[in-house]
């Protein structure tokens, strides 16, 4: 029924009749809610279920969830819709799209929506690690929803076979190299059959790279999103370390490693240690035919990881009534009970300390403590690379990283080129 209505609406809009229909206030506030799906599982069904629950508890508000594809699709769709004056009311978008959304005047700050002390308190109820990508210029633009970090998964069987303690993951860069050397196996002809460690580098290598830079004690951009530091010595050092895993130590596959097949490489025992998102936990738990461990990433000068994933945004085109209703929905979605259930269903990290204190979360981690690793790592987390004209700056870095990993440029050269390109793009935002 709702589908049919959407269809009719769209035709009406196409015919230019929308103005007439929209002018008559409906009995209920209807909110469109765009969300991407980035992990496996019946996400659409879960979201539809949540929307229905919310509607039951809040008569007078109707939620229209729209599954809008990948994150990339969703931001593209949202920006188009904003330009066409047809923005959604609420959308889940990558936390890194914050500056883009602000530049397009697309979203409203939560500070301007909250009024009561309780609501202000709610704004401060999330892990600070997740808020780094949600705030800029002293305002909060996104509420953490489906958030993740990078963690390390290791194959306990292969550890045992290599004479390592299967319960202990490498804690430092030096140990990572040492473990990697023991874990890498070669056949009689000298061809590698198992790599010690694997860090994927297709698609969004910058995210994985941020683990190394953070651990090396440097951030890649300023808080205003107008400057990048790709050519700083610590960044080049971090890249040198990643490149050396393969080139010098021979414990990491050469070239650009596909993100999508990395879990499979792990299942096939082609890689003993992999770096990937916490969002992969459920997948790995279901498919690994061996005992595996989840650990914080090994430390360089310090521990560190970027956060990742999506925030809830409220759009500026809405009326006051719609904004109030949207705020209500966002609060409802991010409430501890809901956040806990969402984390359990999807494998994302529950976004507030209170969510971890709920009964169902406690019961869940009692059987399966792996998710707590991501939570505990949050104290070392930094914001995911995010600047103005984010996609473009990110591509400059990605290209540089791939050039260094494939050996077409030295790490220093690659990062200097990336920095030059980023400078060119960001100049106009300063």
């Amino acid at each position: 029924m709702r589908k049919l209505f959407t269809g009719l609406n769209r035709y009406a809009a196409a015919l230019g009749l929308a103005a007439g229909i929209a002018a008559t206030p409906a009995a209920a506030v209807e909110l469109s809610f765009y969300y991407p799906v980035a992990v496996g599982g019946p996400i659409t069904r879960i979201v539809d279920g949540m929307a229905a629950d919310f509607e039951r508890e809040n008569p007078g508000i109707r939620i229209k969830p729209v599954y809008s594809g990948s994150y990339q699709d969703t931001i593209a769709k949202v920006l188009t819709a904003v330009k066409g004056g047809d923005a959604p009311h609420i959308a889940v978008l990558l936390s890194t799209d914050m500056y883009t959304l602000i530049d397009e005047n697309a979203v409203v700050a939560y500070d301007d929506l909250v009024s009561t002390p309780a609501e202000r308190q709610w704004l401060n109820s999330f892990y600070p690690g997740f808020m780094k990508n949600s705030q800029t210029g002293g305002k909060t633009w996104g509420i953490p929803f489906q958030r993740s970090t990078v963690v390390m998964y290791w194959n306990k069987e292969l550890f045992r076979e290599a004479g390592l303690d299967p319960e202990r993951a490498p804690q430092t860069w030096a140990e990572l190299v040492d473990y990697g050397q023991r874990l890498t196996r070669r056949d009689a002809a000298g061809n590698v059959t198992t790599w010690g460690v694997q860090v994927p580098s297709s698609g969004f290598p910058y995210w994985l790279f941020q683990t190394f830079t953070t651990q090396n004690g440097i951030e890649l951009m300023n808080a205003a999103g107008t400057e990048t530091y790709f050519d700083r010595p610590q960044v080049i050092e971090a890249l040198q370390f990643w490149v050396d895993l393969s080139r010098r130590h021979g414990i990491h596959p050469p070239g650009v490693v596909e993100w999508g097949t990395t879990p499979k490489d792990f299942f096939e025992r082609k890689a003993a240690i992999i770096y990937t998102t916490t969002g992969n936990l459920t997948n790995i738990r279901n498919n690994a035919g061996f005992e595996f461990g989840v650990a914080m990433l090994p430390a360089g000068a310090q521990r560190g990881t970027p956060t990742g994933g999506g925030n809830l945004h409220i759009f500026s085109r809405s009326s006051a009534a719609e904004r109030a209703a949207a705020l209500k929905f966002v609060q409802w979605l991010s409430a501890p009970e809901r956040a806990a259930q969402w984390a359990i269903d999807t494998g994302y990290v529950a976004v507030s300390p209170a969510a971890w204190e709920t009964e169902r979360m406690k019961r869940y981690v009692a059987d399966f403590p792996a998710p707590t690793v991501a939570r505990d790592q949050l104290q070392y987390a930094v914001a995911e690379l995010s600047t103005h004209d984010n996609q473009r700056v990110t591509k400059a870095l990605n290209d540089g990283l791939q050039a260094a990993l494939t050996g077409t440029k030295t790490p220093a050269q690659a990062m200097q080129d990336a920095q030059r390109e980023a400078e060119r793009i960001l100049r106009r935002y300063r």
Partner: protein, 299 residues
């Protein structure tokens, strides 16, 4: 051949009817082919509207940017190589396939089907399958290499093999399609030609190059033009297999246009890039029209 001998009134009626019949198609063609081609040029002279900044006229600045854009240079170079590297093998394979399935060969129908099947599959779907083929170590290709004792290779993750890997997929996808046209042409060739050539003692090699190949020339031209257009038009597999990487080593012009236009939302620059693509296609068009002209005279 038309109603030239009829009265002026009838001629007017015919002209009116002709235009009316043509009108719907003409409107759609103008709206989605001619107008956008011209508008591309116009928009390539403007910046992209963003937030509350409107688009402004900047002359040929985008074209200057293009000259300084290393990714554009790479995309262009890749695309020319891609065109050459997909057209030649797929046409050669198409001829060989057509010769086989036109001759007396066991299981001819099934074979024809086997060659043609890739044409019917969506590129985006087969790209997934090929991605698994190319996976290092346990992908099918490396498993086969492993049997020969060869080391694993990161096909899609190395700049020196990524473009070739995506080219292979295109050849696989297209050869069977082109085969069909050759098959059609071969079926028109009279078997007596073959007998005559044999009687004169020509080897099969000579027969092919001196008799058959010239006869197939019109088909070859047709196929070549189609293959060239496809080389600039079909980039679906890049989305799944390499996303143009590593470090743009496998990026093609249209894919780069997509990235600029729909990821970075810089539609002004994307328009300038599209102009290059249109210019390339115009060259192909010129060749084709010259050839088409000749063909139409024959009919």
């Amino acid at each position: 051949m038309t109603v030239s001998s009829a009265s002026p009134a009838r001629r007017h009626a015919a002209a009116l009817h002709g235009w009316l019949l043509l009108l719907p198609a003409a409107v759609m063609l103008a709206a989605f082919t001619h107008y956008p081609a011209l508008a591309t040029f116009w928009h390539s002279l403007h910046t992209t509207a963003r937030g509350n900044r409107a688009a402004e006229y900047i002359g040929f600045e985008h074209y200057q940017d293009m000259l300084a854009d290393p990714i554009f240079h790479l995309a262009l170079k890749n695309n020319l190589l891609y065109a050459l590297g997909t057209i030649v093998p797929s046409v050669a394979l198409a001829i060989v396939m057509a010769l086989w399935v036109n001759g007396r060969i066991a299981g001819r129908g099934a074979l024809r089907l086997a060659y043609f099947t890739p044409t019917m599959l969506p590129m985006i779907a087969v790209a997934n399958i090929w991605l698994f083929f190319y996976t290092p170590d346990y992908g099918l290709l490396d498993q086969l290499r492993g049997l020969a004792g060869l080391p694993a290779r990161n096909w899609l993750g190395s700049p020196d093999s990524a473009l070739w890997a995506v080219m292979t997929v295109a050849v696989w996808k297209e050869a069977g399609f082109f085969m069909i046209f050759y098959l059609a042409a071969l079926q028109q060739v009279s078997p007596e030609l073959r007998e005559a050539a044999t009687l004169e003692g020509a080897s099969r090699w000579q027969y092919f190059w001196q008799v058959l190949f010239p006869l197939l020339m019109p088909t070859t031209l047709f196929v070549l033009i189609n293959a060239t257009i496809n080389a600039f038009r079909l980039v679906d597999h890049l989305f799944v297999m390499t996303r143009g990487g590593p470090d743009n080593a496998s990026t093609l012009l249209l894919y780069y246009i997509y990235e600029i236009g729909f990821r970075f939302w810089d539609q002004g620059y994307a328009a300038a890039l599209t102009m290059v693509l249109l210019a390339l296609l115009a060259v192909v068009a010129l060749v084709k029209f010259l050839w088409l002209e000749r063909r139409i005279h024959y009919q």
